[in-house]
């Protein structure tokens, strides 16, 4: 029996085509609003937008092993991971469009998506999600559950203290955490060879007594196999793993990135290696019919279109809402149970 079942392959494929189409549509909406001249604050999706086209296999392959109670922290490039984790697509889209019914009521935006129902979060600072993922693993251990936590990061994040400290913390307490490096070769304009001497990110594990593994291509099936082992080990309380996956950045770092620093050959190579096409071929090899593949694609497209349509119909937040939600309990709200008692200046 193959490690990755046909059903899993289909699910991964569905996640990946959903993510790809989703981001193509976001890109359209984003850029449409930036006409005639690119103005980052214009249009229906303002601000920065980091798309993950070329990373989908990493998300699909890893996350399909997770349950809703497992925690995932993703990066500034979060959509593919969110989709694989089952984040509410409509509310996520509404958030990206800055609407009132978005996951964060329009306060977070695309780098700050929180869906507590499926324990998903992401953030905009490099390696910032590593410590909270470790904390989720710590909570699982303390509560004696078999939940696990997965922290995604880019290959550019392997030089950041938050990641490195987290490796040690997870290792020494044997926490159920898997770190997944999405290696797309670039950190904005900086190629990985220029910022570290290690052959690849999984080597960082060597300095922390942690297993480190790397998947050298964005083959969803291989990723799923390797991730299955790592996550299984975490679930069985055998400690953390550092895992790296080679992915590809098919676009600029963010929308609007001129990529003048990037050799054309590299851009072309990234375009050529498409993990979705590869998985589609694998599906066919496994006997999945054209019709079934088309059915998955169509369903994914429809789902994306519906989410975007729904989101665009949602109301903008009221300006006054900006003042809410700093605290869940602004004036503290805990009933004052202070006894009638004067410790200083009293007469007792």
């Amino acid at each position: 029996m193959p490690l990755v079942s046909e059903q899993t392959m289909e699910e991964m494929f569905e996640n990946m085509v959903t993510a790809r189409h989703y981001e193509e549509r976001l890109q359209e909406e984003y850029l449409e609003g930036k006409q005639p001249a690119f103005d980052i604050s214009a249009g229906p999706i303002p601000g920065e937008l980091h798309l993950a086209a070329g990373h989908e296999a990493a998300a699909a392959g890893v996350v399909q092993h997770l349950r809703d109670d497992d925690v995932v922290t993703a990066t500034h490039r979060p959509h593919h991971v969110a989709i694989a984790k089952g984040v509410d697509l409509e509310r996520m889209t509404a958030e990206i469009f800055g609407r009132e019914t978005g996951l964060g009521k329009g306060k977070g935006g695309h780098m700050h998506l929180f869906d507590p129902d499926v324990n998903f979060a992401c953030s905009g600072i490099i390696a910032e999600g590593c410590p909270p993922a470790v904390g989720a693993g710590l909570a699982a251990k303390k509560r004696n559950t078999d939940s696990v936590a997965v922290s995604f990061l880019g290959e550019g994040a392997i030089d950041q203290g938050a990641f490195l400290e987290s490796l040690n913390f997870a290792a020494v307490f044997d926490l159920p955490v898997v770190f997944v490096i999405e290696d797309n070769d670039w950190a904005i304009s900086m190629p990985k060879e220029r910022v570290t001497d290690v052959e690849n990110g999984s080597k960082r594990a060597d300095g922390f007594e942690m297993p480190g593994v790397r998947v050298d291509c964005d083959d969803a099936i291989e990723i799923a196999e390797v991730a299955g082992e790592a996550i299984g080990r975490a679930r069985d309380r055998n400690g953390p793993t550092l895992m790296e996956v080679q992915v590809h950045r098919r676009m600029g770092h963010f929308m609007g990135d001129p990529e003048t620093y990037r050799p054309e050959a590299d851009q072309e190579a990234a375009a050529d290696r498409d993990s979705i096409e590869r998985l589609e071929a694998d599906l066919r090899d496994a006997g999945v019919t054209d019709d079934r593949i088309e059915e998955i694609r169509t369903a994914a497209h429809d789902r994306v279109e519906e989410a975007i349509e729904w989101a665009k119909e949602q109301p903008q937040p009221e300006a006054d809402a900006a003042h809410e939600d700093v605290f869940v309990n602004p004036m503290n709200g805990v009933t004052d149970s202070e006894p009638d008692f004067e410790a200083i200046g009293g007469d007792d």
Binding site: L103, K107, F114, P116, P131, L138, F327
Partner: protein, 337 residues
């Protein structure tokens, strides 16, 4: 006497610990993390006896990785646990500030209130014992400036316990800053005031409720932490000179109890703000501006007494020069009259 049965005199550290122990007994989701908090019992006695009662799992020594363990507290809090994480000296915040202010403080807002971070960050603050520039700061202003953290500063054992109960039960992130000099540590003698009778029962002191530690008519002294005691001492001296000073202990900077301050200044006309933090862009400026905002007409005179924008120097005469003394407070009050 029923009274004597239900209260006893405690040092501030014992009062803090008694609240923590109570909450840990009641709620298995509460745990404590920090450096030297288990066997050592906290460098400033902040966890004395807790490891003995609750074991290493709930009173956890951690590697010297503040980013990792403060961020881990955020992660554990977000899945519903109630961690208390200790930063041994607040001066170390710089190695972990991103987790504190970009996650602990902001995740609630960024999630539109869908996520809460019910954790307490405790940190020792303050000087007066010649520990120099990297171990003597209070940094009250630095943290109160960051939206999303409730910032609490007890000055007595009684307050310390009630505020700690409240902090642990609060669903929002709380920064609980305890002044080393007030803790009642064997090797760092505390002044008279912080050791107070403390009820054995649990009780909470709500945040945003400043406490009038001494009532007076001529001048309002607004302060917090160690300087509550210096202000009370100054008020004694001033009383001898026939001046009646009201001493307000803020107890929390966020939320800030503006009403109590403004009411007092409307009564006295004079405002003296006393702070152990750096003078500029901090607590003293905020309190003065708050009163100016709310009741400019009432404000007849203003003085700010704080550290004069220098790092805390080591040598005794130098540290004494920059950390506001009782005498400095007396002089400032005199200048207002």
């Amino acid at each position: 006497m029923a009274e004597s049965k239900s209260t006893r005199e405690l040092t501030m550290s014992r009062a803090m610990v008694s609240a923590i122990a109570h909450e840990m007994r009641e709620d298995s989701e509460v745990f404590y993390m920090g450096e030297d908090v288990a066997d050592y019992g906290g460098i400033f006695d902040s966890t004395q006896g807790l490891r003995e009662e609750f074991g290493y799992d709930r009173v956890m020594d951690v590697p010297i990785s503040e980013t990792a363990y403060l961020g881990a507290a955020v992660g554990a809090a977000q899945v519903g646990m109630r961690p208390i994480a200790e930063l041994m000296f607040v001066d170390f915040f710089g190695v972990a500030m991103d987790q504190i202010y970009n996650q602990m403080a902001k995740n609630t807002y960024m999630s539109g209130g869908n996520v809460s971070v019910p954790m307490v960050l405790t940190a020792a603050v303050g000087g007066t014992y010649n520990d120099a520039a990297q171990h003597s700061q209070t940094l009250y202003g630095t943290f109160a400036h960051v939206p999303g953290l409730k910032v609490v500063v007890p000055s007595t054992a009684y307050d310390a316990k009630g505020l700690m109960h409240n902090a642990i039960r609060d669903d929002d992130p709380v920064l609980y800053m305890f002044h080393k000099r007030l803790m009642g540590i064997g090797w760092m003698p505390a002044p008279e005031g912080p050791k107070t009778p403390v009820p054995e029962t649990e009780y909470t002191i709500p945040f945003g409720s400043a406490d009038v530690k001494r009532a007076g008519d001529d001048v309002t002294i607004v302060t917090l932490g160690l300087h509550v005691h210096r202000a009370l001492e100054a008020a004694e001296t001033l009383a001898d000179e026939g001046m009646s000073a009201e001493v307000i202990d803020l107890r929390s900077l966020v939320p800030l109890d503006t009403d109590t301050i403004v009411e007092s200044v409307e009564k006295t006309g004079s405002l003296v703000v006393v702070d152990e933090d750096y003078r500029s862009f901090g607590v003293t400026g905020e309190i003065v501006a708050t009163v100016a905002d709310e009741s400019l007409g009432a404000l007849e005179s203003v003085e700010r007494v704080a550290v004069p924008d220098v790092p805390i120097p080591y040598s005794r005469p130098l540290e004494d020069e920059v950390i506001p003394s009782t005498k400095d407070i007396v002089s400032a009050v005199q200048r207002t009259q």
